[in-house]
Structures are given as structure tokens and as C-alpha cells.
């Protein structure tokens, strides 16, 4: 019992500790692809450190929502991290609290508050970004639903720990069309939800073209640090769900000892690194879509997910 709580805490610690690293590796890799040297992979840690030591400015006209939001944005990925398999292939102490749908809702809660906070400040760019994020969100929602429903239909459950076993026993199941199509659809979702190219350019500095970033334009100091860190953790958590549940449920600790769990950490990081390579490839080879083309991108994701569903439902 105590062990399981310990592992759960360790799991959260891994997410918190390595999320900035993943972001740093990603931006470094992108720069390298563009034949630049790029910042150190530890730069996100330095940024966070610096921001935590700066003063925070809060507009007088903003309400409690503005001050409260960074904490929610920060806490929700941590909460989800307790539910999903990050290091272990067996459920941990808090895993009973929610399934994949629950995790999705919790993440959506963070997004909801971020939107409110962006509108709250009355900065003109905030609401622009907020409304665009909502548009992407609305379009991504049905895809999420179909993906989860198909997953639960295949595995007979929405608990991630059960789902991940389903795809690889026997190994031939890995090649089921519904599985491959679901992976594709979920990958597109990660691109949309994580604000990556081709949906959004996370490194852009032009406010009018921003989708995700413009919501945090008004934050400074500690609030900004929390929002930023929370965003990095959200991506990390999404990657964990994608990789550990859908794509490659290998390398997770199956033993109940501390050693086994510790060994799983580098393996999971390796998987994430491999995926970051793929992500860099996608981001470097595609251009950002015009805003109204995003509907087509997510439409494609929707079609992929429904194709996954019908190949499964009708041939069962």
C-alpha cells in the first residue's frame, strides 16, 4: 500500500521534473533541423527558475479567475498523471479515481479556466486566442469522443491499464486497422491540443496569428511560470497516454519493486524521445494551416477516428 502511494508520488514527480526537459529537447531538435545550434535543452528549467523569482503584475480590473487560473492549469496535469500509466503497467493507488474519459475532462477543466482568464483581462489578444482555442477544442471534442468510444469498445473498458494490454495480446492485435487508425487520429489530436504545427505555431511571436500562446500574454512572474510549466506537463501527459496506452505499451514496470519502477523511467523517457523525433519531423515538414483550414485538419482526424470505429464495429 505504502509502496503504491510512493510510486504514485514518484510518477507525479517524473511528470513534473521531465516535462520541461521534453520541451527543451523538442525546441533544440527543431533548431538543429533548421541548421541552428539552438538553446540548451535545460533552458526551460532556467526560464522557470527566472520567472519564479520575478515580481508578478496583475491587472486591477481582473477578477479572482485571473489569479486562480495558473494554479488550476498547473494542478490538472498532475492530477491526470496520477490516473494514467506513466511508469507502471499496473494501476497505482489513485488510479481508481478516473478513467481516460475522466482524465480528458480534467484536462479540459484546465483549458476552460485558461480561456476564462484570457477573457478576464480585457487584453484584446487574449479573447482572440481564447475563441480560437475554443474553436479547435470544439472540433477536437468529437474526435476525442470517438477515439475513447472505439478504444472502450475494443478493450471493453476505458481504464487505460486494461486498454494497453489489449493491443499487444496477441501481438497480431497490434496491426488491427482500428488500432492503427486510432493512433493516427490521436496523433492528430495531440498536434491540435498541444498547439503544434500544423494547427498552431508554439514559437510564433506574432500575436494576431497566435492560438494557444496569446492566452497567457498577460501573465508574468510566478503565474506565468505556473502556466508555462502546466502547459509542458499537459503535453507530457498526453504523450504518456498516447505512447504507453496506444502505441507502445512496452518498457513499463510490471514488478512491484522500487528498482523496477526506477528502471522504467529511462525507458519511458527513451520512448518519449523517439516520439519527439517524429514530432520534429512533422513540425519541420509541414506549414502552419490557415485558421479556417484547421476545421479541415480536424475533419480529417474525425474521419480517421470514425474509420477506426467502423472497421471495428462492423467487423466484430
Amino acid at each position: 500500500m505504502a509502496e503504491r502511494i510512493l510510486f504514485n508520488v514518484l510518477q507525479v514527480a517524473v511528470v513534473m521534473a521531465f516535462a520541461p526537459l521534453a520541451a527543451g529537447v523538442l525546441s533544440r531538435l527543431k533548431e538543429m533541423v533548421q541548421s541552428k545550434r539552438g538553446p540548451s535543452i535545460f533552458q526551460p528549467y532556467r526560464d522557470l527558475w527566472k520567472l519564479f523569482h520575478k515580481d508578478e503584475i496583475v491587472s486591477e480590473d481582473s477578477s479572482w479567475i485571473f489569479r486562480f487560473t495558473p494554479y488550476i492549469v498547473f494542478v490538472t496535469p498532475i492530477f491526470v498523471a496520477t490516473l494514467i500509466p506513466v511508469l507502471t503497467s499496473y494501476p497505482l493507488f489513485f488510479a481508481f479515481m478516473g478513467d481516460m474519459l475522466g482524465g480528458g475532462f480534467v484536462l479540459a477543466l484546465g483549458g476552460f479556466f485558461a480561456t476564462l482568464a484570457a477573457v478576464d483581462t480585457a487584453n484584446p489578444y487574449g479573447p482572440i486566442g481564447a475563441s480560437r482555442t475554443r474553436m479547435v477544442g470544439f472540433l477536437a471534442e468529437p474526435v476525442f469522443m470517438i477515439v475513447f468510444f472505439t478504444v472502450s469498445f475494443v478493450a471493453g473498458s476505458t481504464i487505460p491499464y486494461i486498454v494497453q494490454q489489449k493491443w499487444v495480446t496477441p501481438l497480431a492485435n497490434f496491426f488491427e486497422p482500428s488500432h492503427v487508425l486510432l493512433m493516427l487520429a490521436f496523433l492528430m489530436l495531440i498536434l491540435a491540443e498541444g498547439g503544434r504545427i500544423p494547427v498552431d505555431n508554439p514559437t510564433g511571436h506574432f500575436e494576431l496569428a497566435m492560438i494557444d500562446e496569446s492566452k497567457s500574454l498577460e501573465y508574468s512572474g510566478r503565474g506565468f511560470a505556473l502556466v508555462k510549466w502546466g502547459g509542458q506537463m499537459k503535453l507530457f501527459v498526453l504523450l504518456c497516454i498516447f505512447l504507453n496506452v496506444l502505441v507502445a505499451p512496452w518498457g513499463l514496470a510490471s514488478g512491484q519493486t522500487l528498482g523496477a519502477v526506477l528502471v522504467a523511467i529511462p525507458l519511458v523517457l527513451l520512448k518519449i524521445f523517439c516520439f519527439l523525433l517524429v514530432l520534429v519531423f512533422i513540425e519541420s515538414s509541414l506549414a502552419k494551416l490557415r485558421l479556417f483550414r484547421i476545421a479541415e485538419f480536424l475533419g480529417a482526424a474525425f474521419v480517421t477516428s470514425v474509420a477506426a470505429m467502423i472497421t471495428r464495429v462492423f467487423s466484430a
Binding site: 496477441p170 488491427e176 487508425l181 470514425v306 462492423f314 467487423s315
Partner: protein, 236 residues
Amino acid sequence: MSDATRLLLENLNALAAGLFLLTAFGIVAMRQARACLHLFIAQSLLLAASAALLGMRFDSGHLYGVALVNLISKPIIVPWLLRKTSPAEIYTRREIDQALNIPTALLIALALAIGAYFLGIPLANAVGPEFRGPNVPIGIAGLLLGAFTLTVRREALSLLIGLLAMENGAFMAGISIARDLGMLVELAIATDGLIIVFIMGVLVRAVQKHVGTTAVGELASLREAAAKPAAEEVLL
């Protein structure tokens, strides 16, 4: 053949079929004419893969033949023929205004695909238990989506691809339910596909030369003229 191998082959075949369906959707939605062609080539490769996998599964040399014919004719000869016959302009075109916007077209395409399943499953079951697989419904879906492409597209190349995609769809169903159709027939059908490409390429060239466009679907001068003065004339 062990059960595990059989299951693996069946799943791989299903995967090829699933991706086939995805390419069919892609052909409906892609704006660039060239991207359509690439998707069609991918679709043909998946069809060949499915035929080869079914050939392995049922130990049928004939299906290997089908796979080989598909491998040679569609990804290699079709683009070559197109380059020879039709103006290079068809590759560079993008469709700005389709008959339907892309999300709507995709939604209708989804409905068609689901309809294809309702149509295909009882068919496959009626042929025999060993024909249960994704090929028949996905083949029918490919056929319907190809036809749908023909109705929403205007550009010559995308229309041609739509036609060929229809044929691919019919084949996708065919390799499952009509496994031993005879090599002569298969070869004849493949040749026929090439003649289609040739003739349509020549037609597109003529259209481009005499009308000055490759958006063949936009030609609409032939119809019953509504208000001609003669129509008001008194009957004799």
C-alpha cells in the same frame, strides 16, 4: 499454417483495407491534384498488399498475380501514361471551389462508408463464412467514395483519379469474393484501366487546347435552353 500466423495475416489484411479506406477519404478531400494522384498510388499499393496477404492466407497463386498486376500497372504505368498524354498543367492545379466544402464532403463520405458496411456485411456473409473480412464492405465504400469524388470534383486529374478509385474499390471487394476469377480477365481489366487513362488524357489535352481549361467539370454549356423565343411560338 498456425493460428497465430493466420491471425496476423488477417489483421494485416484488415489493416491494409483500413488504410485503403483512409486513402479513399483522402481522395475525396485533397485539394491539390498531385496529392490526389499520390493518394491513388498509395491506395493501389494497399490494394496490392491486401491481395498478396489474402494470397498468402488462402495460398492462392492467382491473388499474387493480381497483386503483381496492380503493382506494375497503377503506381508505374498510370503516372507515366498521364505524363505522356495530358498537359502538365493538370498536376499543378488546386481546387479552390469544390461543389461542397471539404468538411461537408467528408461527413457525407463518412455516411457513405457506413452505408457501405450495411450493404457489404450481409453480402460477404452470403458468399460464405470464410469471406467475412473487411474487404467487401471497404471495397464497396471505396466504390461509393470514388463515385462521390466524381460528383464533387471539377479538375480533370481528380475526376480521373475518382474513376480509377472506383475500380480499385470494386477490386478490393473482388479479391475477397471472386478469388479465382481467371488471370486473363484480370489482365484484361488492368489493360482496360490503362486505356481509360490514355483516352481521358487525350481528352483533357483536347479540352485544354480548345477550351483553355483543365477544370473539365465546370464545362456546362449543354442543357435544355429554357427561354428561347421559339418556345413561345404558337403551335402549328
